[in-house]
Symmetry: C2
């Protein structure tokens, strides 16, 4: 089992904590709650934790853009693993409370949004009150019988709340995607779980900016991957923040950078880029 220390976006009870606790239950390691995504990155770069859990997509708790920007701003960071957490929203209240007692429903605006249809149907007359986090909502529900909170099942365990309803988000597939980032030169010891997977199950992330900014430039970059028959799994353009109208691209690809096809495509892309960074090749863990 691993003795690594993982930084995550707290407080306890958030979906970030749910993801990292599940991960540690499987592979070992301990966790440190951080106050913000920026704090997680600082804890990693200052060696206060070994790895940081950064939310990248569809997260309730923080800005995806902020994680992407911080990865760009910290070239000393490398990605080691992707963690996918299916998001399920629960309605939680004090033990024994009945639905008709509930007059106020607390949660983070996005958790409320994801449970919109359910709440509109079942709690037409309840007052919806936004909180900073789903954990803060749980605390509110704990304090009064007329209150319920929307959030993860983890909150029920931590705050000893009862599950009043489950699957509030309905049928839509809904998951948050995180990555574990550490310093490139970090000695992570014999923690094989960070690299455990068949090479074919790896994903590779890069950030690149073209040398010239003109029509068709992204088409040319993607041509290099198409030639080597490499699948993209995600692409996003972001303003470079250096000059207006200049863009950098975040691209995720199927495969490991040690694969010959991928590595030769990456070499070609590097040649036509003014900025190029391999964020890492890493396997995926899906939390159940």
């Amino acid at each position: 089992m691993s003795n690594l220390e993982y930084g995550y976006l707290g407080p306890p009870g958030t979906f970030s904590e749910q993801a990292i606790s599940n991960y540690c239950a499987r592979y070992g390691g301990s966790t440190t709650a951080c106050g913000s995504i920026r704090d997680i990155v600082e804890a990693v770069t200052a060696d206060r934790v070994d790895l940081g859990l950064l939310p990248l997509e569809n997260s309730l708790e923080g800005s995806v853009n902020l994680s992407l920007d911080l990865l760009y701003q910290h070239p000393e960071l490398k990605l080691y693993r992707e963690i996918v957490l299916p998001i399920e929203q629960y309605l939680l209240a004090r033990p024994g409370v009945k639905k008709e007692e509930i007059k106020e429903i607390y949660s983070h605006p996005q958790a409320i949004a994801q449970s919109g249809d359910y709440l509109a149907n079942e709690f037409k007359d309840a007052k919806i009150i936004y909180t900073d986090s789903t954990a803060a909502a749980a605390k509110k529900a704990l304090a009064d019988r007329k209150r319920a909170a929307v959030g993860s099942i983890r909150l029920a365990e931590i705050y000893e709340l009862e599950i009043m309803a489950e699957n509030l988000q309905g049928d839509l597939p809904n998951a948050t995607r995180f990555v574990l980032a550490a310093k490139k030169d970090k000695d992570l010891g014999p923690n094989n779980h960070l690299g455990e997977a068949a090479a074919s199950d790896f994903k590779t992330s890069i950030i690149c900016a073209p040398k010239v900014n003109e029509a068709g430039v992204l088409h040319r970059i993607l041509g290099k991957f198409a030639e080597e028959n490499i699948d993209l799994t995600r692409i996003e353009s972001r303003p470079s923040r250096q000059r207006l109208g200049e863009y950098i691209f975040y691209i995720d690809l199927k495969g490991c950078s040690s694969d010959q096809h991928l590595s030769s495509a990456l070499e070609e892309v590097k040649k036509i880029s003014s900025y190029f960074r391999l964020l890492g090749s890493y396997p995926k863990t899906v939390i159940e």
Copy 2:
């Protein structure tokens, strides 16, 4: 002047309100605060407002992903205008309060994150406390002399707070991008400002999904735009939410769909897409 009604993400004092008030000061119209991004879309589809202001990028107040998903889920919506608001963070406190009196600093986690360097240098010992919105932080600051809030200059006006420091976000260019959406068949009357601009200053947004999901498919789509020499200004892939591993692409292009080059490229892309939607061609307003 226009008599249109605009829905925006409240409460008053948010950056969303700053954007829409500035816009209405220029073009007329009145505003309605909505409780969530989902509520804005509902207000538009139920004709309670004429247009809704949706945050798309780098917003403090809501999920960009949620806006993108809602646009996909509501084919009856069309985009009419882009509004770009430069984000400037101010430190606000009760009139006459001095820096050394401040023991607690309140704001939304992202406003705090954007002011990270300034706060770390100037207020090392102050306690940072997160709030739901920058408006909630302003209310906290109003209640006690030992508190300051981080947020927009609008908060100073609304809550009669004093500006203690400005430009907390530092030198990084920082802006939030919104769009105004309305129902396609909505009669917006003679509100020329919604279409006012040279055709060359228009942007066109589409959502598309390729017929086949294989390596090189995005390369092929972008090839159609490269052939017609059309600039991309943004691209993002999102999971389709229908089948795992299927993606839809959100693409912004320079130009108006009535332009012959753009319209013929769009026709070509439509042919190789299983899903294709023109979100609209629209001009941009930059708030000063």
